[in-house]
Symmetry: C2
Subunit: 235 residues, 2 copies
Amino acid sequence: MQKIDVCFSPELLPKYEITDKIVVVVDILRATSCMVTALACGVAQIIPVMEVEECKEWQRKGFLASAERDGKKIEGFDLDNSPFSYQNPDLIGKTIALTTTNGTLAIKKSKDAAQIIIGAFLNISAIVAYLKKENKDILVLCAGWKGKVNLEDTMFAGALVEALQADFDVATDDSLMAQILYNHAKTDMLAVIAKCSHIKRLQNLGIEKDIEFCFQIDKYNVVPMMNGDFLEIVA
Amino acid sequence: MQKIDVCFSPELLPKYEITDKIVVVVDILRATSCMVTALACGVAQIIPVMEVEECKEWQRKGFLASAERDGKKIEGFDLDNSPFSYQNPDLIGKTIALTTTNGTLAIKKSKDAAQIIIGAFLNISAIVAYLKKENKDILVLCAGWKGKVNLEDTMFAGALVEALQADFDVATDDSLMAQILYNHAKTDMLAVIAKCSHIKRLQNLGIEKDIEFCFQIDKYNVVPMMNGDFLEIVA
């Protein structure tokens, strides 16, 4: 039986062997929720980059570019880190370079994986169906917050473990911990995360609408996957 | 109000500022449970060391020495990593050099902390009383397993958060996650950890008796603290 593991922070990724695994990168608030939204709404490709300067380079080459640090848009870029910004029909068919505090770093650190796919509550059933079909070992990589763990990414990881437990071996401490956290929170995830300092910090930015949006289940039926430098829909 | 944080793995410790904090190091199975048992049973001092060779050095100088890797005693050393080995009256007043896979590493990595104290379920109420009295910021450092998270250390961290929540700020994601995990497991911790691969690995070593022992609450009323290179009872 193939297995599913959960890595609680990109800082712990070197402790996991990923070359033969599908890595599911998750940054619920808000990088991977934005990526899923963008691609589901018609954006052709996303180019996740680690550095702001690199993102600027893509912009100079004529691409749209989005750069966020500490939850805020950096001046001079075309788009911020709100999922509502990516539902704009003007973006259909476009390619967007994107850098965020945690999410794009997690993607870049996963470069040795067999496949990198992008998960969010917005597309969780599409991800589950894809992972069952592929039947490879899985590592869910929580982007966290500046190297620390966070609750919403771990809850998403636990939701995947819960959905895949009949088909995958889920016996490791990390996957069981994530599953317990998800089952504790699942009936009212927004209420549970409302207690966290991380969320309070985001709420101070006035993004309550974004947070509610990012906790919608199965709004989109897409599986975004990294293909070289580009993130595209594969299923 | 002072605050309490939980670091899920020694690998994440660089993400936390600890110079003004009390770091509570926990390695339930079995390093910190052994240390608490040893000191409570009359051992004068423990010298936690990172490397096996360094432990051997102390032995050559005439000290008792204990070295464990991957759950097993290394040949040529005086003591293994079972809490029962430290209840021997012959050890009263002795000093023991000790190295383990995860626990002693976590202690050494915490060297910049204001204070380092050693926690286990065996002395949890003594730790809680001490932390309330000191009223400093706290970081609970889970030793984990080779850099990965584990359930039993996180549950202990959550038990501390639960016990201290009236007196300390517990709003960070890490402390809330640990608290949720503890509250899920507290009525039957042994049954919950029995599902984990980490425990199965330890059970294969034939240490079920040790595991049961380490989950006893408040068997001992001691607070061990690092004083330079030495771990001693301070309260």
